[in-house]
Symmetry: D2
């Protein structure tokens, strides 16, 4: 059995639902074959999210960690790089808004995901579920947790792999009809994420196919 | 007199025009008060662009360096961070397509711009010209040059500041009508860039205002 | 004095603010020279919006009518055409959601704006405020009101001109930081709209410049 | 056997390939069960496209007509409405650029597609292929042909149904890597279009599900 930690976020602000947490629970309830998934909810709060993540890692001792977040994108959006800066466009769930603060003072400017990101995105796409490689996870709590995860793994346990994935809104969420943000049913997102977990468990190395952007 | 090096790119593939080079020339021809601008054209080629940039820096000995590139964005797009990877979505002007290669093996994962990026973007906006902070310069020759510049400055001369800015297409370029990419007249782009250069020359430090994104 | 009717909408759903109504009020409070502007708020309700508009037109007897709505776009977005269908992506403020219903049974499929739309957009742009021509006003209450207005003018009073304009969110609205929708300060939007009103008052005919899209 | 006419366009400007024509040919070569598909290529020229379409309709006497065009969208994009205006953002393949000219003087402002558009989009989506309802086909040759088709059917033969569908670029086309326009393999597009043709052949009426936008 391969132990996997999957985190999702609590609902943000007025939202009463967060697909990243719903998907994490679906993965725990019905994990891919051969994997044992523990789902842990993280607070959408700068100061509390990384400590909560660290506790969860220590407690579950997973082979790899996948943190999930919500984003107005249109599929399983696999992040490539976390950067060492908080620049919050609004208040977090504790009413805080750090601006241009390093996440880890004197930490490296960035960390790359250690998941085989292109192999995962290609596998999800082959199942007919939209997936993409993303070059920025923003500068809010998602990037904060992603950077915190990679720093933790780099400094405390280099064997453990990890990364961050954004999932879309669900069709029922108000932002979909009000602002036209793209959406995906959470069951479809979970199905795509199961393929990700299976792919990560089976492969240490990535495939070398072009998946970049000009700008 | 403050010496400034501004680079632009040669036309890409079938294009016969590159607004990044046209804007660089306009800045040299009509620099902001108190600045002496040298415009240098870089090849749109992975292997040749950084050596050409390095020669230009050594030759002109500028107080700061601003590299320009073309992007389907809608204004003066000031890049925040360069990442240490080439992942070319197509061929460069030498017919090469590096995929998932580090720009500098064993170099840091990323460098942040050392320009006061928010102060610049705010000043350009105040003049009624659209400007934004960008969190990714892509993984093509633009990011390659940006990373190469910041590595050069970090390792060879820590006093010199530098950064990268994307400018939009011009209204006459075929991509504007064919693909609906946004555009800006090159004179307007040059006017915005003059404000950037003046701002960089006058200020070592940035302003601390929120300008991030959730994802 | 040229009498002008400008309508805006009440806040939609949980929103407590609607920039379309705020802008309408700013135009009434500080109209362009030579114009008398009456601002009227319309309910964001399919069944009630057109009757309210009709009453306002009869009461104010304006030379021309400009209806405003809110949209996640990035500037003064001047609509070209209203289509004869309601296809609501969600509930209106009365909890109704018409789907694929004609606005006026046996009415024409569409009406074009009778404002000089390109002249207006060009004038706003010349003032350094972003403006665009839009080819769809959607299928929610905005398009409903736009179609209702044009049908009213076509059938009851062919001298009166009218059209519809979408304005962006304001920077303080939650959707801006949460979903990255573009924004514009309401004072800037009002300034752009003053230019629109002045242009409409001064010109019966449009300029003939290309402003279309391939698709 | 149900006879179907499917049109695609010749390559536009410097392009050497047009997925709309490639897809039309694939449909002719391997039609859905029970359908006989004739593929006809239309010139990307305002003045010649509608006469060529009319000839093809008269010659093939189809039960329904589906015209295809290329667009920088991300799936099978089913158009809802054609408007009576040419406003060309650039030159067509004959070097002409009509601006604000009616397609049919004194024709109605718009025509709605007479295909069951939502039923088609839903069927394509159920097969795991991205599909959407579009509210504007632009103001270039695509909208021109769409309007011409619907006017032809409305005035010459009310039994025949017809509509317009945009297909995406293919991954190999330069615009995909250069401008980041979305893409879809032409075989996938053809598979989605086969589902469309089968759905149109089997159903006269549409389903009544919300699929609109707020703006």
């Amino acid at each position: 059995m391969t132990r996997v930690l999957v985190t999702g976020f609590e609902p943000f602000q007025q939202d009463t639902y967060n697909p990243s947490w719903a998907a994490a629970q679906l993965l725990q309830d019905k994990p891919p074959a051969g994997l044992e998934v523990t789902a842990v909810q993280l607070p959408c709060v700068f100061t509390k999210s990384i400590p909560a993540l660290r506790s969860a890692v220590l407690e579950t001792d997973p082979q790899f960690v996948v943190c999930l977040g919500l984003s107005p994108r249109r599929g399983i959006s696999i992040e490539r790089v976390a950067i060492n800066v908080d620049d919050s466009p609004g208040l977090d769930n504790d009413g805080q808004q750090p601006v241009d603060e390093p996440i880890v003072p004197d930490g490296p400017a960035a960390y790359f995901s250690t998941l085989p990101i292109k192999r995962c995105a290609a596998a999800v796409q082959q199942a007919g579920i939209y997936s993409e490689i993303s070059l920025t996870a923003g500068t809010f709590v998602c990037n904060h947790v992603f950077y915190g995860l990679m720093h933790l793994l780099a400094t405390e346990d280099k064997q453990r792999r990890g990364g961050f994935i954004h999932v879309p809104h669900t069709p029922e969420m108000p932002a979909v009809s009000a602002y036209g943000v793209p959406s995906m049913a959470v069951d479809t997102a979970a199905e795509g994420l199961r393929i990700v977990l299976t792919t990560v468990a089976a492969h240490d190395t990535d495939i070398k196919v072009p998946w970049g952007t000009t700008s």
